[in-house]
Amino acid sequence: MRILSWNINGIRTLPKYHPWNTFESFQRVLDELKADVICFQEMKSARAGLPRDVALPGPYHSFFSFPVSKGGYSGVAVYVDSRKVIPLKAEEGLSGKLQPKPPFSPDERISLSYPYPHEIDLYATEDGEVPTSFDALDAEGRGLVVDFGLFVLINVYCPNETSEARLSFKMNYHLMLQERVRKLVEEEHRQVIVVGDINVCASPMDHCDGHLPSNVATFYDHPARAWFHKWLSPNGPMIDIVRQFHPDRKGLFTCWNMKLQARETNYGTRVDYILVTKGLLPWISHGDIQPSLKGSDHCPIYIDLRDEITLESGEILSLHEAMKQTPDLKEPPRIAARFWEEFSGKQTVLSSFFGKHAVSKQKGDMPPFSTPAPTPGSGADRATETSLPSPDAPTDTPVVASPVVTQSISSPPPPPPEPPKKLKPPQITRPSLSISSTQKRKSSENASSTKSKKLKQQTKGQASIASFFGKPSASSSSSHTKQSPQEVIEIEDDPPASTSTSEGDRDQLDADYRLALALAEDAHRSPAPASSPSSSQAQPASSSQNQAAWSNLFAPVPPPKCTVHNEPTRLYTVNKQGPNKGKTFYICARPVGPGYDKGKGERLRDEVDHRYRCNYFKWASEVRKEAMRERERERTK
């Protein structure tokens, strides 16, 4: 049996990534993970916004915890393949205070006693007060506790320290988790598996910059790292099982900063863990990370449990038995999503009345799995992916193969270079839900019409300077140095435009750049544009020369070279809110890596590794200005 944990960074975005976008239902995504117990963190959804097939994916029993107040953030989920195992009990939150309606009976509760705030030394919050309840800690949808008989599984998304003010919250959450586990282990003599995003690096080895001398010395100074260090074996009860299977493996990372493209160079951290208590060790055969699975800034981690073990007495104990999977155990615990009011079958759906054939419940509302792949990949390529036989679910695969694969082959998504159609929200491409689906609009004529839409859109908005110059002015520009006086007058209109460009007016620049391109293209196609009457008099040679001058003037500025590597830099745009939003800048194009130059304040000079990104930074507007000055100088020479 496999237990998998993955911080998916949004249940709505995951299905947009390859290979998940090739599956027509969320159940197939879960199938593809090939695990029997799947724990997700950072669902970033709310109960109301959960698509039906995500909430009830076929044979999987599902359990969710979402933030009490605002949704779209945090949130954890546990999916259990009911064909393999059925949990005995399940609870939302760690404190035992989050209760369904009506409240749990004592039999439904996992523990007899839950952590009490006054029994542990909690950190004082920002306002200087020590919390007297766990309500706030449990209100963000960070924990699910599921009882599997043999062990209690705790799926957590521990808080990230986004600001100084959240440190106490983060630490208090850790302490609550630790206390909950302690009570289970010491008072109830249970085995525990804690899985999820702990948001702490366990050792210097688990951090991309951990080996740097300046970090090694102070690594455990952070209270969260100190706490984790003490909680983990050998100092504490919890065994970091994935590390135990790979004690010396470097780069065993589960999380990467996507903004830095840190995944390319495996410049990451290990913040996702599977922690087990000692009694479970005989059961666990293997554990690892799955860095090849994309779709989130984290990667999945998993452990495999043996189907049976031999006890010291020589007796063979099966996992099935140890997990107390009795034949009369059929229904999941009460907080399973299938018992939610909206899914309990009280509300019927129209298609069951109006369709020719009734549609199965799970197909009710599909998320847009059919959105085109962002990554290039041929349809055939994808089809093989989809039809990969999954050894864990052999019964289902043949059925999958027919509808899904044919669909993905017969209608391959548009090739990646084609720009997405602006107005078309992906939700609309729903798999044909029922009856007479009108497909007439998918014709090829339609494709051309959308293209024409695009063209029209481009010409709208800010008028480009090109439209004022147009074809005749191209010829007038040919008179740049020596032509009839009549045309010189036109040139006198030009200077203001060019001065304004050197002042770096961005809109103007864009328009000018387009003009330059248009001119260059014209020059390419017909050296002397015959369309204008005046150009017929102009000498072809001089006109093309001048066009070259123009296009040179308006040509895009090549990226500057960084100071350390002397390599072309890369252009980025500021997305952060603030006065600089939308501005563009250049930084070193090399990937980040251990010891990359973060700047003098953050990286000791002797720890800088120049194989990775250097500290080059320049605003694009400055680069532009410099280039303009340079060209001006060359021209006047």
């Binding site: 079958g345 009345f353 109006f354 602006k422 044909s432 029922s434 009856i435 007479s436 497909q439 609009r441």
Partner: protein, 261 residues
């Protein structure tokens, strides 16, 4: 191409008000006889069907059937720019990537002609085949009355049980904290006359069905289109809520809730 002239923009404005709550995008199917729209809400519980008859337009011309894929939010915005009594002309070419709307003021003081264009989109919508149903009960009541009932009951609970019997039509809602029921009896003198404004009940057998109130509240927004609303019900069949007006109709279908008791 399509060219359709409505003597009052208000009709379309009011239609949109009700539909946009249920669906965000929909195809207006235009053909020689009518403009129709059929769309189902995301949860597949409610369906709206609109029909604007060609004869209801001041002028109507549609050479060839075309679907107009409309984002209803955008159309609502464009329609906000029209005065209720403006003469509205809809135009679209056969390739249907732009819908143009022209508003002509009727006022004698100003001779204003406003032209708007909005982009259309491709929508793959499934049209459900709605079967012709013989309903066991049909209740016609003033639309304002219906709006009031569902609004009042929606304050108490999530669902309403509608019971049609010889006694009349009863709306029952059981909330967590309070419950309530409203009985409408057949208006005595209204029974024979179809055109009157009272409550009229035709019934083959008693019907009891439960529905989600939030949808009914949405439907009742259409009361601006018609003074009367007709509720058609049979046991275990979706409810039909129909508003008829001069130019056509708007009909809602709502799947019942089952279980509970």
């Amino acid at each position: 191409m399509l060219e359709a002239k409505l003597s009052e923009a208000a009709i379309l404005k009011r239609l949109l008000d009700a539909v946009k709550e249920l669906v965000s995008d929909a195809n207006f199917e235009c053909n020689e006889e009518a403009i129709t729209l059929q769309a189902m809400d995301n949860s597949h519980v409610a369906l709206v069907a609109v029909k604007l008859e060609a004869s209801g337009f001041k002028r109507y011309r549609c050479d060839r059937a075309i679907p107009l894929g409309v984002n209803l939010g955008s159309l609502t915005k464009v329609l906000k720019c029209a005065k209720d009594d403006d003469i509205l002309t809809l135009k679209a070419t056969d390739d249907a990537d732009i819908l143009s709307l022209t508003y002509e003021a009727k006022s004698t003081y100003t001779d204003r002609i406003a032209e708007y264009e909005m982009k259309l989109m491709d929508i793959d919508a499934d049209t459900l085949g709605i079967p012709d149903t013989e309903y066991d009960a049909s209740v016609t009541l003033p639309s304002a009355e219906f709006s009031r009932i569902v609004r009042d009951l929606s304050l108490l609970g999530e669902s309403v049980r509608i019971e049609v019997s010889k006694e009349g039509i009863r709306f029952v809602s059981d909330g967590e904290a309070a419950n309530g029921n409203i009985l409408l009896r057949q208006s005595a003198e209204a029974a024979p006359k179809k055109g009157s404004s009272g409550v009229r009940i035709e019934m083959n057998q008693a019907v009891t069905l439960t529905f989600s109130l939030k949808y009914l509240v949405n439907f009742s927004k259409s009361s601006t289109l018609s003074k009367k609303v007709q509720l058609m019900m049979s046991n275990d069949v979706p409810l039909l809520v129909s508003y008829e007006f001069n130019q056509g109709h708007i009909r809602y279908y709502l799947a019942p809730k089952i279980g509970d008791d």
